[in-house]
Symmetry: C2
């Protein structure tokens, strides 16, 4: 009810201090009205940026060595601090992004939920990857030394906020949460499309750092002039890894900068995916109207600005496929355009739609209505066929927003060939019935090579944040198919193994000490040993009988 | 005794077939005599290479889906086939590399041992990384879908043989073994310094592929014209990852080629390390002569051509340090030069030694004797101090071979500063006594950031192949500090996670099927469940009382 009112400072927060930038200013814009929002945000220059990275470097050792309870408590404190200003965050994010309140409330809950999930991961401790091989002095031909392995944080991480998730992929979003959980300080480059949202959340994180008595360099939030400060951040020698969600052009430019450093560093960029949906014959013997509505709902939610929006759908040629397309037309007719994130994104969407529509063999088959606000174009669905799709790479390009292409296929072989011809994807979705299992069995190994997540009879939007999620996939979906940016596995991106050989126990870090003070699961001589496993000792006498 | 005699063909083996190359020839050279060895090896061109990568791509699906028993049996069969021609391999490798027979016998045992270790890993199955979150239809605000994660092989891997380990880091060495264990076909680029050794081992692998009934594209061995075929291999679209051990120049050039591909791929290059040894004050109150002998033995073994040879040692200024240097001088005087791997490597060593000796503030303090063969220069130890070391990057450069630099430090602070100023390393070694624990406690967090393995009171050469080993480290030690090239963790380099959402059980791959037919350990709802854990069900009545 009573929302707190933070006076926005329009400044970066570097290691706990507000810093006014000297490299120009920027402002949030309400995309529903194109009105500029207060305050203006000053942009920092490279010298000011170096202050943030130096503080992060300075914080790395103490932060990386935190005990699990303090560490987990810090992540939970961030979540609490965010919740304390939740309504304010949602209101500001709504003004800056045009995203509807229920979506932002959901995203806020996801953001705090994933911080708490990573707190659980930190307490549980399996990410520390402890492996122990005790000394075998009598082994022949050579004795075995005592060897103990654990994973340590990489060091300071640069995180770039995404335009389309002002909370869950932004200031305290998945990249920040997983990097902090790994024990890496974070220098966060705010997205200039939602600077005020970034500041409110950044203060919540900064407060948590202070309240938990941590080194202030653990977190900085910087506003900078677009690409130039991003390049400077990735090139900074103190930075050891990069988390990014955004466009393919921006992501590949960060990858190139990281690879060209004197000491190259890993970049985890989540970039571009059209998320193909494969509708098999059997699925169209069910409720075709419901299937079409599901497609349109998944496509138009958040104005199509989700990384996993279904930008491509394969439907059979012939009558059943035709009935599906007609159903899509009906379903889309009821859908009105929603405000897009920025005028620039709406403009790029328009250009993408015009370019796709201008391709030979591509027709518009369905269109929704224009939305009532600025930047709320009518969603659109195109249609083509597999030969056209395979011959023209423009048909594979992501159009960020509510536009999708239905590609009609003539046979299971044509469908598999189309799948094989595709670039890497975040997701691949199958709609199928029992009778389609043979087609699907041939398709599944192809899709495994192409995508990070494979779904059946659902829609790819709505990414569950948990232990088994993969939000990743081969390039260009991401820069590194070995990882995920959503879910607990994301913490592994920011860790590396170190082995300790014959180090006296008193000098060993806690995770590999013989007494196992943190009660970690460990792999001993190649076999997992659970810390909380029932002991193998016989129960005391009194417990028998 | 009776060694089989394989007639060497001088040809590449592409997917089971001998292929004569059309891009010139090369020959092995006996470095002890500089004599050319028979036969000459024909080098393949890029079109022939494409045959190998296409076959690997073709083999990827069936090989990646092998059941654990067949898969492990294949790795064991390679080991058996290698053992069957063991004496022949050792004889040829000795002629091609100048390495002594006991060293090569040890390396052969390591090679077959690590193949069998990976067979165990494949049977055990933890590398598949299974995570399961069963559906929660009643979860609010949204139901949870059924989510199952496993890791799948990346696809065909290019492996480059190392000059200094003609067996354990070559044709069927650690990179090949771990890639095959992950389920990735391998295209192996033979090292032109030991082509005959490569062919004998390559036949053993090829035979195993055939004997196990696998797709012949699972393994190819190619001879090619140095750098150009290597670049072509890394750029080939069928190749999904690269394993390499060798020089910093060659490694960084492969990294650049991989990053410049339309679809970048990971490169695991193990390159350059001087493996600093930190001798603390207390260690010199013990047996200084033994310490010096240990250093010289570790430095001169295999003519100093080990990735982990101690190329740099920090000793205290003052009397105790002086006594150590004198002891090194005595120990090295007894050491004769041993044949180096190739005339080119011996020449590069000579240049490196001359360059280091020419630096201001660097003096020779100890020298061994020239060896009796060609290419067997006298090992040498230089001396300098921390200020000189910190001011001149030449003093940090690896000299591949038996040359090392003793750097004298004036204080614990100076030592820590020197450690902080260093590049990434494979190893860092401490010699210390109880009284040094305070100095060491300050040093350890610095060394963790710099090295993949930290040892106490031993020597870095002699890398144990096991579960807890890390043979890796920050750049330039390797291209990717998140991994190891030795030990079971190496398999993780060639895997990526895939999530399955609501896929019918009948369509799921075995590792994530509900019935767990491969009896894998799994992470269920975030907690590890061991396949062989005692069941939690109450014991039957008869067992109580």
């Amino acid at each position: 009810m009573s929302t707190q009112t933070t006076t926005l400072s329009g400044r970066s927060i570097i290691a706990g201090h507000e810093v006014a930038g000297s490299a120009g200013t920027t402002r949030g814009i309400d995309p529903a009205t194109n009105a500029e929002l207060e305050p203006s945000y000053s942009l920092i220059d490279e010298a000011q940026l170096a202050g943030a990275t130096a503080a992060a470097e300075d914080a790395a050792a103490s932060f990386g060595a935190l005990d699990p309870e303090t560490h987990a408590g810090f992540l939970e404190r961030i979540a609490e601090n965010i919740e304390a200003v939740g309504p304010e965050i949602v209101a500001r994010a709504g003004a800056e992004t045009g995203l509807p309140e229920p979506r932002l409330n959901g995203e806020l809950a996801r953001t705090t939920g994933q911080l708490r999930l990573f707190a659980k991961v930190v307490r549980q401790g399996d990410h520390r990857g402890v492996r122990i091989e005790p000394a075998l002095p009598g082994r022949t031909p050579l004795p075995r030394p005592d060897l103990r392995q654990r994973r340590i944080p990489l060091g300071p991480v640069a995180v770039f906020g995404a335009s389309n998730f002002p909370l869950a992929f932004s200031t305290a979003g998945g990249d920040t949460a997983s990097a902090l959980a790994a024990g890496c300080p974070v220098v966060f480059k705010a997205h200039n499309a939602h600077p005020g949202t970034g500041e409110i959340v950044g203060r919540a994180v900064t407060d948590a750092v202070r309240e938990c008595g941590l080194h202030p360099g653990v977190f900085s939030l910087v506003y900078g002039p677009g690409a130039s400060i991003g390049q400077a951040l990735v090139k900074d020698p103190a930075i050891r890894a990069v988390g990014f969600t955004g466009s393919r052009a921006a992501g590949t430019s960060l990858m190139a900068a990281a690879a060209a450093r004197p000491e190259p560093i890993p970049v985890y960029a989540e970039m571009s995916s059209v998320n193909p949906v494969f509708v098999l014959e059997g699925a169209l013997r069910g409720d075709v109207e419901a299937l079409a509505r599901g497609y349109v709902t998944s496509l138009t939610g958040s104005s199509g600005q989700l990384c996993t929006a279904p930008g491509l759908l394969f439907a059979p040629a012939g009558e059943a496929g035709e009935a599906f397309v007609v159903a899509v037309e009906r379903a889309l007719a009821d859908a009105a355009g929603q405000t897009m994130l920025t005028p620039g994104i709406a403009g790029a969407w328009q250009e993408g739609v015009e370019a796709l529509g201008a391709q030979q063999g591509v027709d518009v088959v369905a269109r929704g209505g224009q939305g009532p606000t600025e930047n709320a174009p009518a969603p659109v669905v195109f249609e083509s066929d597999v030969p056209t799709f395979r011959a023209n790479p423009v048909l594979q390009e992501e159009i960020f927003g509510a536009a999708s292409l239905v590609v009609r296929y003539a046979s299971a072989e044509e469908l598999a060939d189309a799948a094989r011809s595709m670039e890497g994807q975040l997701t691949a979705t199958l709609h199928l019935a029992e009778e389609d299992h043979r087609t699907e069995s041939a398709l599944l190994p192809v899709l495994e090579r192409k995508a990070g997540r494979i779904l059946a009879n659902g829609w790819p939007t709505g990414v569950d944040v948990g232990d088994a999620m993969v939000h990743g996939g081969p390039f260009p979906a991401t820069s590194d198919s070995r990882t995920t940016s959503v879910g607990t596995l994301a913490i592994e991106r920011f860790l590396r193994p170190v082995a300790y050989q014959n180090i006296p126990d008193a000098l060993l870090p806690a995770p590999v000490q013989q007494a196992n003070p943190w009660r970690l699961n460990r792999r001993v001589d190649g076999a997992l040993q659970l810390a909380d496993a029932p002991t193998q000792e016989p129960a005391p006498e009194g417990d028998r009988a």
